[in-house]
Amino acid sequence: MNEAQIIDELRDKFGERIGTPERLRQHRIVVTVEKENLLDLAKFVKDTYDLNYAISVSGIDYPEQNKFVVVYHLCKMSEEGHLPLVLTLKVPVNRQTPRTPSLISIWQSVEWHERETWELFGIEFEGHPKLERLLLHEDWDEEFPNQFPLRKDFLLEDE
């Protein structure tokens, strides 16, 4: 199964519900999807292409466009190893009420990544069983109330 096939199939199946799947370069496909359709798309790619292995979850902050983007990188892992293909799901999230469904019901391995993204970006993952402090220290809320370090408006000392 090659990239063009996947792109066509995704476009056929979801049409307007997702942004146009885009082939960045070899083995890299990016799909933008609104959070309402995220779970459907995630189930579909997992069942159809057997992308059973979530590599990373990360957040990006775009203050000018007033949004966060949650990025999932997925690939397929079989007994004989990885598939070189990496599918990227991008989920734009409103910056004022950053909430998105958690994909933990589909990929168990996103648990810690989502927890980290919640902590460093303040993006709420609905349905995540344990959104607790992970990397930051216990007194963070007293030191920097309502601030999240990886957001662009959190400035370091020499900026």
Partner: protein
């Protein structure tokens, strides 16, 4: 029976800069919850405030026992965005450095595993050989013992020095002999086998489900290795095998790393034999064009992915390192139901490196 709660670490001989919250009932661990974050130094945030080249020493600090692979993932990302082709000589030198740092990291792991199961000689031998053999070779090539910032976008910083091939070959010959001795005193030791065999079993499907990576995955019978599956640098031109053990216990995970040291030294030999002539570096620009890139390498502890977003300036817009130790965090659930004495072997068989998790 009531249960007992205690935390192992950050000051505990059986932990690094890291804490495990253990709930114990009798001698059985009911629950083991990792608590990372003791070395969260905000590498990803600082990286947004520094230029691309300045970030090389910064990001290599997140895994000081395995610096080459970390910087390689980052450099590959920038090269892909710039659209430049790295000269083949640089690719081979990168392979040499990556495998050296893989051996370095595995020896570090072996030493700590030794002391964790109470074998202080393995600790000393592991560290001593790491020092005399591997860090010295790395120092001869790159100029520093552990933090050499040698792999930079566009190639490597210097060419190989004269006579390094002979030195490395001699070192590797000696190292082969030492590996046999490790096998004799440690891996064949019946007590060590008794302590690790059947301890912390991670089945194949569970390993994929939890998303663990690297030797932890290969110890469970999955042949997942980026060097073979999505070759980078010069790995597609070299001949090597991937050790896989299907038992999924602490012993097979340990054996994977032990075999990998041997295979790494053969890769270094091949790389030196096939080393092409030519440039070791190409010129790069300071401004990186807009775009995003997701580069993956196989670090010593597993797949290391670098997600880089550039907005066309001199500084990265966002840099995310998806590190193998972070992805092995779910592996701590293996401790549930095992005995307190099994905690150190399971912990070490995951080869957990807190700095890499916290970044």
């Amino acid at each position: 029976m009531s249960s007992m709660y205690f935390s192992v670490g950050p000051q505990h001989p059986g932990s690094g800069h890291f804490r495990m919250k253990i709930t114990l009932q009798g001698d059985i661990i009911l629950n083991a919850e990792p608590d990372p974050g003791f070395v969260h130094r905000s590498v990803e945030k600082i990286a947004e405030t520094r230029e691309y080249l300045q970030n090389v020493p910064l990001i290599e600090r997140q895994c000081l026992s395995d610096v080459s692979s970390v910087t390689l993932a980052y450099a590959m990302g920038i090269e892909e965005l710039l659209g430049i082709e790295v000269p083949p000589r640089a690719q081979y030198i990168r392979v040499i450095m990556c495998e050296l740092s893989r051996i370095m990291s595995h020896l570090y792991w072996l030493a700590i595993l030794g002391i964790f199961v109470g074998h202080s000689t393995m600790f000393m031998w592991g560290f001593g050989d790491r020092d005399i053999l591997i860090t010295e070779t790395a120092e001869k090539i790159a100029g520093a013992r552990v933090s050499y910032s040698y792999i930079i976008p566009g190639g490597v910083r210097y060419d190989l020095p004269d006579g390094i091939k002979e030195h490395t070959m001699k070192t590797l010959d000696y190292f082969q002999g030492r590996l046999k001795e490790y096998d004799a005193i440690f891996f064949s030791n019946p007590i060590f086998k008794r302590r690790t065999k059947g301890v912390g079993v991670l089945s194949r499907s569970e390993a994929i489900r939890l998303g663990v990576t690297g030797p932890t995955l290969r110890g469970s019978g999955v042949r997942g290795d980026i060097r073979k599956d999505a070759p980078y640098a010069a790995y597609d031109e070299l001949d090597f095998e991937i050790p896989v053990y299907s038992e999924g216990d602490s012993y097979s995970r340990s054996l994977v790393r032990f075999r990998e040291m041997k295979i790494s030294s053969s890769i270094i030999r091949q790389a030196f034999e096939n080393l092409p002539e030519g440039d070791f570096k190409v010129k790069t620009r300071k401004k990186v064009p807009e775009g995003e890139v997701f580069s993956r390498v196989e670090a010593a502890r597993g797949e290391l992915a670098c997600y880089l977003i550039s907005d066309g300036t001199r500084k990265p817009y966002r840099l995310k390192m998806s590190t193998p130790s972070f992805r092995n965090l779910p592996g701590f659930s293996l401790m549930k139901g095992s005995m307190l004495a099994d905690m150190p072997p399971i912990y070490m068989s995951l080869d957990y490196w807190p700095l890499e998790t916290d970044r």
